[in-house]
C-alpha cells in the first residue's frame, strides 16, 4: 500500500463526494418546487437518445481499426445484436447471444 489508511479514506471520500456531485447537480439546480425552464425540459426530453448513442461509442472507444484484430470481433458482435434484435425483438436473447459471440471470437478466433 502506497498510503496510510487515513489518506486512503480521505481519497475515497473525495472521489465519492465528487461522483455524487455530478449525479445530484441537475437536481440541485432545478428543484421540484420551482418551475424548470423550458429549455432544460427540452434537453431532458432529447438527451436520453443522444446520451445512449454517446454511451455506445464510449463502450467501443478503445477498439483499434489499425491493429489486429481490427475491430472485427466488435463489428461482428454488434451486427449480430442488431440483426437478432430487429428479428426476434428479445432483449435478453440479443444481449446473451451477442456477448457469447464476442467472447468466442476473442477467446478462440482472434487470440
Amino acid at each position: 500500500m502506497a498510503m496510510t489508511n487515513t489518506q486512503a479514506l480521505i481519497l475515497i471520500a473525495v472521489i465519492a463526494t465528487a461522483t455524487q456531485l455530478t449525479r445530484a447537480l441537475p437536481f440541485i439546480l432545478f428543484p421540484e418546487n420551482k418551475k424548470t425552464p423550458g429549455y432544460i425540459l427540452y434537453l431532458g426530453k432529447v438527451l436520453p437518445y443522444a446520451a445512449m448513442g454517446m454511451l455506445v461509442v464510449y463502450c467501443l472507444k478503445n477498439v483499434s481499426l489499425t491493429s489486429s484484430p481490427f475491430g472485427i470481433p466488435d463489428a461482428v458482435a454488434v451486427l449480430c445484436i442488431v440483426a437478432l434484435h430487429l428479428w426476434k425483438k428479445n432483449t435478453l436473447l440479443s444481449i446473451g447471444v451477442g456477448t457469447a459471440v464476442y467472447m468466442l471470437l476473442v477467446q478462440l478466433v482472434f487470440k
Binding site: I12, I15, L25, Y42, A50, N62, V82, L92, I95
Partner: protein, 230 residues
C-alpha cells in the same frame, strides 16, 4: 409491502443483463484491489459510496500513487461528467418520488440510467418503487460482486475474457429500442455522430466532455426544428 413485491417482480427482469455485467466487473474490481494489498472491506466501502464502475477502477490507480486529493477531485469530475446528462434527463421522472429520491439520484449509474430512461413501470406497479428497486438491485449486484472478488482473490478456473461486452450489448439493444419507439431520430443520430467525430479528434481518453458540449450545442440549434415536428 405488496406494493414493493409487485414492483420487485416487475423490476427484476430488466436488471438481468446488468446483473451479468456487474457480477463480472465487480469481481474483477474486487480482485484487482485485493491484489494491491487492500482488504475486501475497502472494495465494499468503495462500491457502496462511490458506486461508479469506471471511476472505481481509476481509484485503484490513485490509491497506489502519491496522495493527491485535488487531482483525484478533478479526475472524478471529468470522468463522471456524463452523469450531468443523466440527471437532466431524469428531472421529470424523479419528480414526486419523495424519500426515495436521494437514493435514486445517488445510484444513477450508466446501466441504471439506461434502464430507467427507456422503461416505464408496468400498469398497476408503483413507479417510484419500480425505479427504486431497479436501482437497488443493480447496486446489490455490484457490492456483492466486489465483496466476492475481494474475498476470493484469483481462483478463476474458466476464461471470462470478453464478458464485459455484455454492457456494450445492453446499451446497443436499448439504443435500438429507443430508436424504434421514436419517429424523431435527430437526437440519437446527433449523439452517435458527434461522439464519433470527437473520438477521432480528441482520442479515447478525452472525448466525452467535448462530445457533451457539442451534443448540447447541436441539440440547442435543432430545438425549433425538433419541437415543430413533434
Amino acid at each position: 409491502m405488496k406494493k414493493y413485491l409487485s414492483a420487485l417482480k416487475a423490476a427484476f427482469p430488466y436488471t438481468i443483463p446488468v446483473m451479468a455485467g456487474y457480477l463480472f466487473l465487480g469481481m474483477v474490481f474486487g480482485i484487482i484491489l485485493g491484489s494491491r494489498g487492500y482488504h475486501f472491506g475497502w472494495a465494499v466501502l468503495m462500491s457502496v459510496f462511490i458506486y461508479a464502475g469506471s471511476m472505481q477502477f481509476v481509484t485503484v490507480n490513485l490509491l497506489t500513487s502519491a496522495f493527491d486529493p485535488l487531482s483525484a477531485l478533478l479526475i472524478t469530475l471529468v470522468v463522471n461528467a456524463r452523469h450531468l446528462f443523466y440527471g437532466i434527463s431524469m428531472l421529470r421522472k424523479y419528480n414526486g418520488t419523495g424519500v426515495k429520491k436521494p437514493y435514486l439520484i445517488a445510484g444513477l449509474t450508466d446501466e441504471t440510467y439506461s434502464i430507467l430512461c427507456s422503461t416505464e413501470a408496468p400498469e398497476g406497479v408503483d413507479s417510484a418503487s419500480f425505479m427504486f428497486l431497479v436501482t437497488l438491485l443493480n447496486q446489490i449486484y455490484w457490492v456483492t460482486a466486489s465483496f466476492a472478488g475481494g474475498l476470493l482473490g484469483s481462483f478463476f478456473t474458466f476464461d471470462t475474457s470478453g464478458i464485459d461486452f455484455v454492457m456494450t450489448a445492453l446499451f446497443i439493444v436499448i439504443f435500438i429500442n429507443q430508436w424504434k419507439s421514436q419517429k424523431e431520430h435527430m437526437p440519437a443520430i446527433t449523439g452517435v455522430v458527434v461522439s464519433v467525430v470527437c473520438l477521432i479528434i480528441f482520442g479515447p481518453d478525452n472525448f466525452i466532455i467535448p462530445s457533451m458540449v457539442l451534443i448540447t450545442i447541436v441539440l440547442t440549434i435543432l430545438r425549433n426544428t425538433i419541437e415543430r415536428r413533434a
